[in-house]
Symmetry: C2
Subunit: 569 residues, 2 copies
Amino acid sequence: MKQSKLFLPTLREVPAEAEIVSHQLMVRAGLMRQLVSGVYTYLPLGYRVLRKVQQIVREEMDRAGAQEISMPAIQPAELWQETGRWDAYGPELMRLKDRHNRDFVLGPTHEEVVTGLVRDNLNTYKKLPINLYQIQTKYRDEVRPRFGVIRSREFIMKDAYSFDTTREGLDKSYQDMYDAYTRIFTRAGLTFRAVEADAGAIGGKGTHEFMALSEIGEDTIAYCTSCDYAANLEKAEVVYKSAEKRTASQAEMEKVATPDVKTIEQLMNHFDMEARQFIKALVFKADERFVVALVRGDHELNDVKLKNIVDANVLTMATEEELNKLGIPLGFVGPFNLPEDIEVYADFAIQDMNGAVAGANEKDYHYKNVVPGRDFTVKTYTDLRNIIEGDECPRCGGHIAFARGIEVGHVFKLGTRYSEKMGAKFLDENGKEQPMIMGCYGIGISRTVAACVEQNNDENGIIWPWSLAPYQIHVVPVNVKNEEQKQLADSIYEQLQKEGYEVLLDDRPERAGVKFKDADLIGLPIRVTVGGKAGEGLVECKVRKTGESKDVHVDELLTYVKELAASLQ
Amino acid sequence: MKQSKLFLPTLREVPAEAEIVSHQLMVRAGLMRQLVSGVYTYLPLGYRVLRKVQQIVREEMDRAGAQEISMPAIQPAELWQETGRWDAYGPELMRLKDRHNRDFVLGPTHEEVVTGLVRDNLNTYKKLPINLYQIQTKYRDEVRPRFGVIRSREFIMKDAYSFDTTREGLDKSYQDMYDAYTRIFTRAGLTFRAVEADAGAIGGKGTHEFMALSEIGEDTIAYCTSCDYAANLEKAEVVYKSAEKRTASQAEMEKVATPDVKTIEQLMNHFDMEARQFIKALVFKADERFVVALVRGDHELNDVKLKNIVDANVLTMATEEELNKLGIPLGFVGPFNLPEDIEVYADFAIQDMNGAVAGANEKDYHYKNVVPGRDFTVKTYTDLRNIIEGDECPRCGGHIAFARGIEVGHVFKLGTRYSEKMGAKFLDENGKEQPMIMGCYGIGISRTVAACVEQNNDENGIIWPWSLAPYQIHVVPVNVKNEEQKQLADSIYEQLQKEGYEVLLDDRPERAGVKFKDADLIGLPIRVTVGGKAGEGLVECKVRKTGESKDVHVDELLTYVKELAASLQ
C-alpha cells in the first residue's frame, strides 16, 4: 500500500479524552476515531489489525472443532424473558422497539439465541457434542465507557457455545477452548495469564479469565510467585491455618463509650490497638433476608465469597434505611443482640481472635475483651476475605503477589442453566430426554487489540508484534524527489510484496522528520529506510522493537529481512 | 469437513412462511434459520457462502483502490438531524435511546458517519480522491419483511463512499465502482444487468442499479432486445414521435352526462371507444402546491418523472379531502376550469389526441370531442408515462421488453448533498474551500446469496456456482459400514483436501437415499459417490449442474476433478 493514498490521519497531540496509552496511541496512529462516547470507527490501519486478530481466532476455533455461524444483533425480548435476563440485566442492556411496538434487545451476548437455535434444530445425542461460534458486534450500555475500546458500548466479540451430553463431555469442550485460547493469545503476542475466576451460583468446577497483564487493568490478579497458580481477587482462596493456640482472655467483655468513633482508623486511635484486633461487621441483604459478615479489621470482605456461602442471587450492602428498620446503628454494627433471624458468617481468622473490639450494636458503644464463641455465636466460619500479598499460595504454599490485568477472554461452564430454562433437550442412548450441558466462551476482539498496544509501545509509539502488525514492513524513502531513492524504494516495495510481505511504502513528499515520527508512531516491525546511500545500493534496516539498525546492501536485503522476520515471529 | 459433525439441519418439508424458492431452499438446505420476522441466523453452511461473497467483494473493492474501514451500527441522532434524515426517514429507521435518554439510530446506511469522519480528518485536495468501504450489518424496519434475506430487517451490506475534488473525479470513481460491481456479480455467478435508475432531485448524470434477473424480482426492468440498453421502469425514457399529423376535429367540445362513469373501463363501455381515446387526469400534491398530470387512457403515469419535472421533494396523490377543498370531483377530473394556480403537465402523447374524452371537472360530466391546445392549456408537454413493452428503445430504435430483477447493487452519484449540509470541505490548489463531491455504492451481501440461489436451483435443491459453493466437492460413501467404501472415501477426502479443494465428507451412517437427497438439496458442484464398485477402485463423479455422471478410477480421479473444476469455474 502506498501511504500517499492511505486514509491514515496521524496526530501529534494526545487526544484529551484518552486516559491510557493504548487509547492515545490507537487514536494518534490513525487506527480509530470516536463517533460518540464508547462507540468507535476503525480506520483502514485499525481494521487490518482487527481482521488479523479475527483470523487468528477463526483458525484456532476451527482447529478446535468449533463451527462458525452468525446470529443477529437484534433479539426479541421474549427470549430474554424466558431466561429472566430481560429483568435481571438492568440498564446495561440496550433495548428498542420496532414499528409494531414490539420489544427487542441489542445482544450483549447470545446464550438465549443459540440455545433456542440448538433446541429447535438438534435433538439427539448422535449430533452432540457441538460447539458454535461467531465473531460479531455486541452492545453493552456501560455506565462509564472509557479506555477506548477496552470498555466501550459497541464492540467486537468472538463468542462460542458448546453443547454436550455429559459433564465429562463439557470438561473436554472446556479444555479444548482453554487450549485454543492459550494458542490465540500466544499467537497475538500477549503477555497473559489464565486465572481462576468465580463461577457464581452456577457452580461448575471451572471458569477462567484470560488476563492480559497490564497496570491499567481493572481487575486484580493474585498469583503465586513459585507455581503457576493465578486467580481473580474475588476467587482466590485464602489458606487458613490457626496461627497460635488461642487461650481464652481472662477479662470479661466490657462495654465502652465510643461516641462518633466508627471507622477502623478512628478505633485504632481511640483504643491504641492494631487493626487486626478489631472485628469488622457488615450487614448485607441476601435476596429477601439479611445476614451479618465478620472479618478482621485489617482484612477486606470478599462479597463474592459471601454471596456464594449464603447462596444468594443478589447480594447488596444494607442501606442506612434498612439498618434503621432492623434497629442496627450504622458505624456500631456488631454480632450482639441481633434480630433472631439474622445469621452471622465469620471469616476463619475471626475464630483465633482474643480480646477483640467489636461494635455493640448500640449507638456510640463498642465492646472490648470480646472472645468469639464465648461472647457471640457464629453460624459458619469460612473463607470470607480477600487474599492479600504475602498470603500463602493455596496450591503450593508459596507466596501470593498481585498483578493487574485486562480481561481479554473468558471460558465458562454454564451447565444446564439455559438449557433447562429454555427446554433445550436431547434424547440419550436410552431414548430418555436430558437437558444439554453447555459451556460459553468469549474473546474481546477489539479489546485484544487495545491490550496488545497497551503492552507493546514506547514513548514514540506502538511496537506491533509481527502477528498483528497492520503491515509488516515500512519502506521509507527519505526524499521522494530524489529519483535514485524513489526508484530504489519502489523496487524494494515491489520485491518485498512479491515475496509475500505486507508492505507500506511512505511515498509522501514529506520531510524526513515527519516520516520517521509517523513510522515510529505506527510501529511496523521492520523499517527499511532508503536514504543518502541509495547510490551505493545501501539501505537501513531497523527493527522497531529493539531499535537495532543495520546498513544492508540491496542484494542481501531479502535474506536479511527473512532472518529478521523469523526472529520476530 | 465431516458431515456427521456439521451443524446442518436439512428439512424435507417446505417451511410455511417461505413464499419463494430461494427462501425455501436456504432454510431447507440448512443455510439459515429465522429468529424473528425479517431477522436470520446463518448456520455454518450459510455463513461459508456469505463469507465467499464477502471475499469476492473485498478483493474487487481493494483492486479498485477502495480502503476498508468499519463504522459503528449505533449512530447519534444529532448526525441524522444535521442532514434532515432523522425526520425524513420515517418508521423504517430503527431508533433507540441509551441509558442517558439520548437518541440513537441503528444505521440503515452510513452517509452521515462517513461524511463526518472525512470532514474531521481530511482537509486538502492532496489526500483526495478517496474511497472508503465497509462490510457491515445494517438495519431497516421494513413494513413487510419477506422473501427471506431479500427483504429483511437486519442484513449485511457492503457500502462504499467516494470523495472527489471535481465532477470528473466523481465520474471516474463512479466508473471504477461500476466496473468493480460488474466483476463482482460476474464472479458470483449471477445473471444480471446494470440498469439506469432515477437519480431523483440530486440530479447527476448517473445512477445504476445492478439487477439479478429473476421472476420474483420486485422491480421491473425495461431492456432493449437489440442493444444493451436497460433501465428501471421509473427511469426508462419514452421516445416521442408524432405518429400522425393531427388535423383538428371539426366538432365542438360537448358536455356529456356520465353519472357514476369514472374509470377508463367504464368510460370505454359508456362511449364505446378505445382506451387510447381518453385523457386520464391526476391531481398531485407537489410539496406545498398542487399540479395536474395528463396521460392517455392506455398509458400509466410515471410519478418519478412527474416528481422530477415539477422539482418536488415530496410528491403524493391528492387525497379526496384535498380534492374537495380544491373543488375537484373525484372520478371526473379534467384540465378544465381548474383553480388558477394549478399547472397542467401532459405526456407527449396527449398533444396528438383529437376528439378525445376527458373529465369535465364537474360531478357526473365528461367532455367529448376534446382537442388539447384548442380546448385547454398545458404548461408543458413532456415524458410522463411508463414505458411499455414494444415501445421504441431510446438508444437504438429497437424494441423494449420487460424483465424482473432483484436489486443486488446500486451505484449513486451523491454530489455535494451531504458534504454541503455537513460542511465536509477541502482546500483546493488555490487554498480555496470547496465541498467534497461524493458518490455512494452499495451491495446487498446477504441478498446476493439469495439471488444466486433463486437463479440456480432445480426441483431437488440448490445448484451452487463454483465461486459461492460452501464446499466444492461432496464425497459420499454409500454405506459407511462397508469398510472398503469407508476407507476409499476417507482417502479420497484427504487427497482432495490436500489438493486445496474444499470437501464435505458424508460420513453419516444414513441410508443412501437420505444421503443423495441431502446432497442434491445442498447442491455442491461435484459429487464423488463411493459405492459398490469401490473394490475395483471405481467411484462415480457427478456434476450437480448438468447431471452428467461418469465412473472414474481412483487413480484418475484427481485429473478428472481438475478438468471438471476448470469447466465449472
